[in-house]
């Protein structure tokens, strides 16, 4: 490698990134290597790890109904909550992309659920709101609709978690809004001159120009949703009949309730492979639908 001019190339930079580099090697790389090893062992923390070969993986795939249930619940959750959340975020961002008095207030109000949504506090609130005596049923009774035990029934329990996730569309909305503000007004003017209607303008101007941001939000939300824990742990406790037994709950139970560290490590690697595959799939398809402007801005 030849450099035309060796501009300040020195090792001083390493002093600055040293904390991160040390942390990365000790707290990420090393644990990940260990985790591969543990995934082939039987390890309870009390006794040294015992090599068992592929048996953890074999048990997970052939002999663990909880794994099947949790995978189903997690995939359903991700595939329903992420598109709904992004659709809501995009729709409302477009509505908010205009000069109106009080926009700042609306933006704050709509962002607020995203701010508090991950807390134990909101999970407790949700548990009550969707309970038999809860707010949702009270509101329904006003319209003479009979309430349900939303959390107690396998058909609806996952729905309460999806509603909770979609309720927090604010953070994606803020990112969309910032993207919309970057679209030059001339594009819309040109579309108007061509006589394009609102819907056509949206599909031919707004959506293509916003597609890199859509990709960013999609990847971020997908990865995040796969790891959902607190809400499922508190609102539905994974039940009923494991219909909301999120992958992170399964992992937690195996590792920290049953201390099957080897088994849990195998579960963690399977999760990583799934998330990586889904992310790779999103990126692979993105070539077809993400539009990048040719000039670098």
């Amino acid at each position: 490698m030849k450099r035309r001019r060796n501009r300040d190339l020195s090792m001083t930079g390493y002093l600055y990134i040293a904390p991160w580099l040390a942390g990365f090697l000790i707290l990420t790389v090393w644990p990940m290597i260990q985790s591969i090893y543990f995934s082939f062992t039987d390890y309870s923390l009390l006794e040294p790890a015992r090599w068992v070969g592929m048996s953890n993986y074999r048990n997970i795939f052939t002999d663990d109904t909880s794994f099947v249930h949790s995978l189903k619940a997690t995939v359903l959750f991700v595939f329903l909550s992420v598109p709904l959340k992004l659709a809501a975020a995009l729709l409302i961002a477009i509505m908010m992309n205009r000069k109106l008095k009080g926009m700042h207030f609306y933006r704050t109000v709509i962002y607020f659920p995203s701010l508090i949504g991950a807390s134990v506090a909101v999970a407790i609130l949700w548990n009550n709101v969707f309970g038999v005596q809860g707010l949702v049923n009270q509101l329904l009774s006003v319209f003479h609709i009979e309430g349900k035990n939303w959390i107690g029934m396998p058909e609806t329990a996952l729905g309460t978690l999806i509603v909770l996730a979609v309720w927090q569309f604010g953070s994606s909305m803020v990112i969309f809004l910032a993207g919309l503000k970057q679209i030059p007004g001339e594009y819309y003017e040109a579309a108007a001159v061509d006589g394009a209607g609102k819907l056509r303008t949206f599909f031919q101007v707004t959506l293509p120009l916003l597609s890199p941001i859509l990709l960013f939000n999609l990847v971020l939300q997908t990865i995040g949703s796969f790891q959902m824990f607190t809400q499922a742990f508190i609102v539905t406790k994974g039940g009923p009949v494991e219909s909301t037994y999120m992958y992170a709950l399964l992992l937690f139970d195996k590792a920290f309730a049953h201390f099957q560290m080897g088994y849990a490590s195998a579960l963690a690697w399977i999760l990583l492979v799934i998330i990586a595959a889904v992310t790779a799939l999103i990126f692979a398809t993105s070539r077809a639908w993400v539009h990048y402007e040719t000039e670098g801005s």
Binding site: S10, G23, T28, L45, S119, A121, N128, S171, G179, Q227
Partner: protein, 280 residues
């Protein structure tokens, strides 16, 4: 005229959306002042307002009041924020302003770890920290952040790098002419200009650690060291029939620190999310 009509329609729609989104929260605000027989009403306003939920909830867990839990959580979150801001800004300065071999490679690793699920490393990390004797201490939260890692660590580095790149390099060069070394450039030039990013990082770091229920649950065991989140969960589990009024009151208090921080700094915060989201 047409414009006025349209903006009226927009306002109406936005008000309806805001109202629907805030309804559960507003109901919650009302519920904390309701006596227990009013709790199953959808009304926002309590008929016979009472403060009993707060006074009884605060001491609902025997031997430990919520003062301890709030003190613990604030102490934990503040120390994590302090070390994270220092470490992540130093690392970001290295990436944004220094030239060193393999720089681009390491920076792409930072971006990659941004997407790495926490749960992949949690089991071996737990085993590692267990061997250090760090279980039931706050070190599993503080040390990773001191090494520019932990929850959101890579995101904070990324955010700082983006921000530092937008600071004109001429400032560095002028300082260099005056004989400033790289650390002086960092501390005298960059840090003062970095304040908006520092605010954003601090808020996110505070909130995410406050809400890191998974981590707190596995690492903290003795009740005296419990965070608010753990205490709330214990409160739910300890009663056969949940005293909802008290639970709501304590839950509501638990989001107050984050909400207050947010309202004082929201301009920075929302811009911060927007710029990093975009420039990625």
């Amino acid at each position: 005229m047409k414009n006025m009509k349209r903006s009226f329609a927009s306002h109406l729609l936005l008000i309806v959306i805001s109202a629907v989104m805030m309804y559960p929260v507003l109901w919650w605000f009302g519920a904390v002042f309701k006596p227990s027989d009013e709790l199953s009403s959808a009304s926002l306003i309590p008929h016979h307002p009472t403060l009993k939920n707060f006074s009884e909830g605060w001491n609902a867990i025997t031997h430990y009041s919520f003062s301890i839990f709030f003190g613990n959580t604030i102490g934990l979150a503040v120390s994590v924020v302090a070390v994270a801001v220092v470490s992540c800004s130093l690392v970001a300065f290295g990436f944004a302003r220094m030239n060193f071999p393999l720089k681009n490679f390491w920076f792409s690793i930072v971006l990659l770890t941004l997407m790495l699920p926490n749960q992949v490393t949690i089991v071996p990390q737990y085993i590692l920290f267990d061997s250090f004797g760090w279980i039931d201490t706050y070190l599993p939260f503080i040390i990773p952040h001191a090494l520019a890692g932990g929850i959101g660590g890579s995101f904070f580095i990324f955010l700082f790098v983006q921000f530092i790149r937008s600071i004109p390099k001429e400032l560095d060069e002028a300082a260099k002419m005056d004989g400033c070394g790289s650390f002086k450039i960092y501390s005298r030039i960059i840090v003062p200009l970095l304040v908006p990013a520092i605010v954003t990082v601090s808020i996110f770091c505070f909130l995410w650690n406050w809400d890191d229920f998974f981590g707190q649950m596995i690492y903290i065991q003795s009740i005296g060291k419990f965070t608010v989140g753990l205490a709330l969960k214990m409160f739910v589990d300890s009663q056969s029939a949940a005293p909802w009024g008290q639970l709501f009151a304590m839950s509501l208090l638990s989001i107050v620190p984050g909400a207050v921080l947010f309202f004082f700094t929201q301009r920075y915060l929302v811009e911060g999310i927007a710029t990093t989201g975009l420039k990625g």
